[in-house]
């Protein structure tokens, strides 16, 4: 990881590096049809990552159902939902009330020198979701943290480039968990894309999941010597919890992503005690009886 470090300070992300990581991120997204693009502002030349996807309320459409061309996402939603639906669920999935259009933007904060996740959501008839509805849709594993301090987590703010209301995931604590992960990664000389690491951790809080394929981007940029040092990246394996991905369809998607990320960072000396991913692991419904790491006390 190349981030600027000043003595004892945390891993601050310079704007130039932010743009470079975003560029690499978008290239990979294009290869796998994940729908991200970079938008440049006309006046000052700064920019942001952007992605739009549709989600059935409380149920996530896995990204592998989307085709490479995302122009007809709405059509695909109704044509390609392959999961078996019982009668009540089928009624819900087809009614426009239940489909939510999410728009995610990743901007750079020069004040905190970290990326920041902005998003907005509306039903297909154009009605925007309220802050309460957004809080209600936050993943169950994060609800405790949200109850403690909702105003520290997700609030409505003005988009700094577009000037319109968006919801924002607060950046003040980004450095805490990023630093913990990056120091472990550096010990093993592993190259990591800061954006992938950060977004795969905070995204699931608000319904945004990154396919595991992004981890390969990091590996591609590692040298052969690096790869020789780090153990093979296995899918869906977690410390103390071995279960194949095939056993967990549908809703457990975010837990699976959590497992995969846990695996990615577990190769370093990072113990995961302070990571929000451990919180997700505690909620794991895989039925495994091996002891999970103890839940850290939240600050």
């Amino acid at each position: 990881v190349s981030c600027s470090m000043a003595g004892e300070e945390d891993f601050f992300l310079e704007e130039k590096r932010f743009k470079q990581y975003c560029e690499d991120f978008v290239k990979h997204s294009q290869q796998i049809g994940d729908g991200w693009e970079w938008r440049t502002s006309k006046d000052l030349g700064d920019g942001y990552l952007s992605k739009t996807h549709f989600q059935v309320r409380n149920r996530h459409i896995p990204p592998d159902l989307k085709e490479k061309n995302n122009d007809n996402t709405e059509q695909m939603l109704f044509a390609h939902v392959e999961e078996p639906l019982d009668d009540s669920q089928a009624a819900g999935a087809c009614s426009t009330e239940e489909v939510v259009r999410y728009e995610y933007h990743v901007l750079y904060s020069s004040s905190y020198q970290v990326p920041v996740l902005y998003f907005r959501a509306c039903f297909l008839d154009g009605r925007p979701l309220t802050l309460d509805e957004i809080w209600g849709s936050v993943h169950a594993s994060y609800q405790d943290r949200l109850q403690e301090g909702p105003w520290d987590t997700i609030t409505q703010q003005e988009h700094p480039i577009l000037g319109q209301p968006f919801f924002v995931l607060h950046p003040c604590r980004t450095n805490e968990f990023i630093s913990a992960v990056l120091s472990g990664s550096q010990d093993h000389h592993r190259h990591t894309n800061y954006i992938i690491l950060w977004l795969s951790t905070v995204g699931p809080v608000v319904g945004l999941n990154l396919p595991l394929s992004y981890a390969k981007l990091a590996l591609e940029q590692s040298t052969d010597a690096d790869l020789a040092k780090s153990p093979e990246l296995k899918d869906w394996e977690w410390l103390g919890c071995d279960k194949a991905a095939a056993d967990f369809p549908g809703d457990e998607g975010s837990f699976l992503a959590g497992h995969a990320r846990m695996e990615m960072i577990a190769h370093g000396s990072f113990s995961g005690q302070n990571s929000p991913l451990v919180m997700m692991g505690i909620g794991c419904s895989c039925g495994n009886t091996s002891p999970a790491p103890p839940r850290p006390d939240l600050p």
């Binding site: 004040s111 609030t155 003005e158």
Partner: protein, 244 residues
């Protein structure tokens, strides 16, 4: 580094700045009898939704309960962003028109695409504190604000809410100091607002001291960050609105 004694008069003038305002109910709102306009002196440094409880009560008296939902304000067709300080809103939209400032009050058809919601005072407090914290991230790498106790944060907010200059500045002065060995803050917290652009404001990192050791001026900042504001003759027409 004590700035209080030197600049206290300026600080007081900024704090106690007022804008005489006339609030009129939007003509399409449904009332049981005619709504009289309501006059109020608005504090420049505060927020619309924090200081207009009386305005709300005044108009709700002539309306039926079911006709009233979230209040919002508009000037000459432009929804007013409650999360901007009142003085900024006035300077941005109405500085050239005669006083009192005429604001239209709405209780229906909240403009979702333009305005943030403000369902309670907690929302205003959270926004205000977020601004304070971001400013300190720039000035002191958040060290001063993070070392304060929750009650100090609360005192800043209560000082603003209750218009208590001394109470506010007892805490804010710590956020305005820097160690004697430094010549200023790490970066200057500033935003340049423009009414004409889609982008709401320009905000960049800017150091108070140049590499040669000399102090930067406001002119240096404008040249660096917003060169289009400066004419070929080297002058700039701006309205300077100190906020925090």
């Amino acid at each position: 580094m004590c700035l209080m004694t030197d600049d206290k008069d300026v600080l007081r003038d900024v704090w106690f700045g007022r804008i005489p305002t006339c609030f009129t109910l939007y003509q399409d709102e449904i009332t049981e009898r005619e709504a009289e306009p309501y006059y109020l002196l608005l504090p420049r440094i505060s927020y619309l939704t924090l200081v207009t409880d009386k305005v709300k009560k005044h108009f709700q008296k002539v309306m039926r309960q079911e006709e009233v939902s979230e209040i919002w304000f508009e000037y000459e067709g432009t929804p007013l962003k409650w999360h901007y300080p009142i003085g900024l809103l006035f300077d941005l939209h109405a500085s050239t028109t005669a006083l009192p400032w005429s604001i239209t009050v709405h209780f229906k058809n909240f403009p979702e695409k333009d305005l943030l919601h403000c369902h309670s005072k907690d929302v205003i407090e959270a926004h205000f504190m977020a601004c304070i914290k971001e400013a300190d991230a720039l000035k002191h790498k958040s060290q001063v604000i993070n070392e304060m106790q929750k009650k100090d944060h609360k005192q800043l907010w209560m000082g603003l809410q209750n218009d208590k200059f001394e109470q506010f500045w007892a805490i804010n002065r710590k956020l305005m100091e820097y160690p004697p060995e430094d010549n200023g803050f790490r970066y200057i917290p500033f935003r340049i607002y423009q009414a004409t652009t889609e982008r709401p404001f320009i905000q960049k990192l800017f150091r108070p001291i140049a590499s040669g050791g000399q102090l930067h001026t406001l002119g240096d900042l404008l040249k660096d960050v917003c060169p289009s504001a400066i004419t070929p003759e080297g002058t700039a027409e701006i309205t300077f609105c100190p906020i925090r």
